[in-house]
Chain length 421, copies 2
């Protein structure tokens, strides 16, 4: 007998019939001798419907009220799932964030879980009842309803699994696991059987949408084994687990891409101490996250006439932000351009970030060089590069997305079965 | 400066624009120097949509889960109303049943309020903020979400008004007050300016749908002045208040009708001690409310051959129940018909209950007789009668509904302006 947490996303609970399927699956898992906790998202489309109501009422709706509003989506699904479990002859009981209680900070619309009281879930399970938990939501110290951000139900699931010491946290979704790259782009993409938390974290950060980043962080922190799988089949999916020796033998585990970023270039900025700090300080003050930052002396720009290092020295500052933040970035940059002595500002939304991820990079030299070589062979120019211990990302023109992903995927041998496959 | 509670029903918050109107009205009331608490219902149609989801999932959905589900309707409206208040430059804050906290018993789908913690509302008002309360919902001792039954937001409003000692509880609805009878049936119906709690209670019980019965009970118990008025105009509506000397001068205040009942007749039941108790005991055990009960020795029935009072003595037992309960009543009656020796069972759904209500009946004799006379003049046969201190109800054939209502309304002079009009 094991403690199993099963999380079902919006598509998996998108209709009344699918909610019945979720109930049936939870009951089957229980019948196999397990204690079961089900975490549910809002029915597909419901969160968007609710947020549209809010933006119909106000241009910038109050975030506390957005959370009270949006949390109803998961509340509805949780109640319906508990009803479905009872209809099938089982025992089910819904729990909302404030009932469980999922204590968070007060950062509305993007709250972080501080603690979960496991006792109510454990009491429920001890009675042979399936606990059905509304995902995505929590409650702060003052009793306000909070939500955890898009995809937050993944984090709810992993956090509940950690709190009750579950043997596994199953994430049911509309794909059957984590792939070596996007199968819609690359026909040779393969389902990954096992992947480390670190790699999953990078893939999620770099554009793979299968799991919320924060959920992987929590899983890694508490060592919760996460099983990403399809809600429409019984086939095993992808296990996200701690580092294992067998994982190390693969140099590159996956190729990700993200079209959600835009590039901003401040041309010919004064190359003086404090100038760069002013630019990124202004962005931080607005709560705008910057991904890549590249500072380089201008080469082809007409401003390259000045002497580097002299009082008139100038440099180009390039960075990337999400496209969603771009309108605010533009306003901000126009305000500070003069202060930092910029000669011009350029924006480019036609970019994509392609990335390779793999634990093996730590022990294998030359992976980055190989990536640049593969892109060069396809005639793709690299606009910016960033690296970490286990990933390399390149910004390229968006039109090369599919070409680059396929070339990198097969170039690193991901089209062939790995040692564990 | 006064403390005002304003309750808005489903039609009044049925669209985003109407929610904005509610916000504007609350802000105008505040700007006039009042502290304002707004109680909102679910957007029109939303509760039915949610309940349909539940019955799509299960034939008899669990009531605890129905409440968790249905409560989201008011939660959405409360959040949107607070957002709308802020959009108009005001201060608004939503409160759910568990946040306020509206403590109820655990009778899901028809819970009763036990206590309301006024401190959070008072703190909010002290900051110049409008408190927006989700109606219809509460929380029990165990933290379960409960709902107060159809129209429960009226009760939420009156109970909050009582808890904070409000000067008035305004009930905004899609009609502009309480009428002497249904204006859709009777063109001479007049809006009542002032009506006593007792009369309103009878009218609500007898089919007038403008206020939930329980809300009138609470208003009467705590002496909360209730002002029923239109959300689409500024015209004064109907005040529901304690007894006043001026009210006494009117003998009949209103005429109500209710098509929601069905008549059940057990023919030729054994006329022995305990038999009637068995019938109504069985109904009570199933939680079925019986309205009128008439026991009479048979007159025209073929079973009237037996000697009254003898061991073979038989009687007819007639009662009325809601049409919603009739399927369960039929099952029950078929089961106990033999036990009570009934020779037959008859059901009649084509009935209506017409009633006259008025405090003046206490001091004026002959009101009931006058009612029977008016119905007789129209050739309407009375099938059953029940009376209380301030009302007389008659069951008649449903086809006479409009005729009876109009005849009684004008026959008791309700078409003419009363002393206070």
């Amino acid at each position: 007998m094991a403690l199993i947490v099963q999380k079902f996303g919006g598509t998996s609970v998108g209709t009344v019939d699918r909610i019945k399927n979720v109930a049936a699956r939870a009951l089957a898992t229980q019948a196999a001798g397990n204690d079961v906790v089900v975490i549910v998202s809002a029915m597909a489309g419901e969160t968007n419907r609710l947020l549209k109501l809010a933006t119909d009422v106000a241009s910038i709706p109050d975030t506390r009220e957005i959370d009270a509003l949006a949390a109803t989506g998961e509340q509805v699904t949780a109640a319906l799932t508990a009803i479905a479990i009872k209809e099938l002859g089982g025992r089910g009981r819904s729990f909302l964030g404030h009932q469980l209680k999922v204590l968070t900070d007060s950062a509305f619309t993007r709250a972080r879980i501080k603690a979960i009281d496991a006792s109510r879930v454990m009491d429920t399970l001890a009675q042979g009842t399936i606990a059905v938990v509304a995902g995505f939501q929590g409650v702060d110290d003052h009793g306000n309803i909070t939500t955890l951000g898009r995809g937050g139900s993944d984090t709810s699931a992993v956090a509940v699994a950690a709190a009750i010491g579950a043997a596994a946290c199953e994430i049911y979704t509309d794909v059957d696991g984590v792939y070596t790259t996007d199968p819609n782009i690359c026909k040779t993409a393969r389902k990954i059987e096992r992947i480390s938390y670190e790699e999953m974290l990078e893939l999620a950060s770099l554009g793979a949408k299968v799991l919320q980043i924060r959920s992987v962080e929590v899983a890694m922190k508490y060592g919760v084994p996460v099983h990403v799988r399809s809600s429409f089949s019984d086939a095993p999916g992808t296990w996200v687990v701690g580092e294992e020796s067998s994982l190390e033998s693969v140099t590159v585990t996956g190729v990700a891409h993200d079209k959600g970023e835009a590039r901003v270039m401040l041309v010919g900025v004064n190359d003086r101490p404090g100038v760069v700090a002013r630019i990124f300080g202004a962005l931080a003050a607005e709560g705008i996250s910057v991904d890549m930052i590249i500072q380089n002396a201008p080469s082809d720009a007409p401003t390259s006439r000045v002497i580097v290092g002299g009082p008139e020295s100038r440099t180009d500052v390039t960075f990337t932000v999400t496209k969603a933040d771009l309108p605010r970035v533009k306003l901000l940059m126009e305000r500070i351009a003069d202060q930092v002595g910029a000669l011009g500002i350029r924006y480019d939304e036609d970019i994509v970030k392609v990335s390779i991820v793999g634990l093996g990079m730590r022990s294998h030299a030359g992976i980055a060089a190989r990536m640049f070589e593969i892109l060069a062979q396809e005639g793709i120019n690299i606009q910016a590069i960033s690296t970490s211990e286990i990933k390399v990302s390149c910004i390229i023109a968006q039109k090369y997305t599919e070409l680059a992903v396929r070339a990198l995927h097969d170039g690193f041998g991901l089209d062939k079965l790995g040692p564990e496959g």
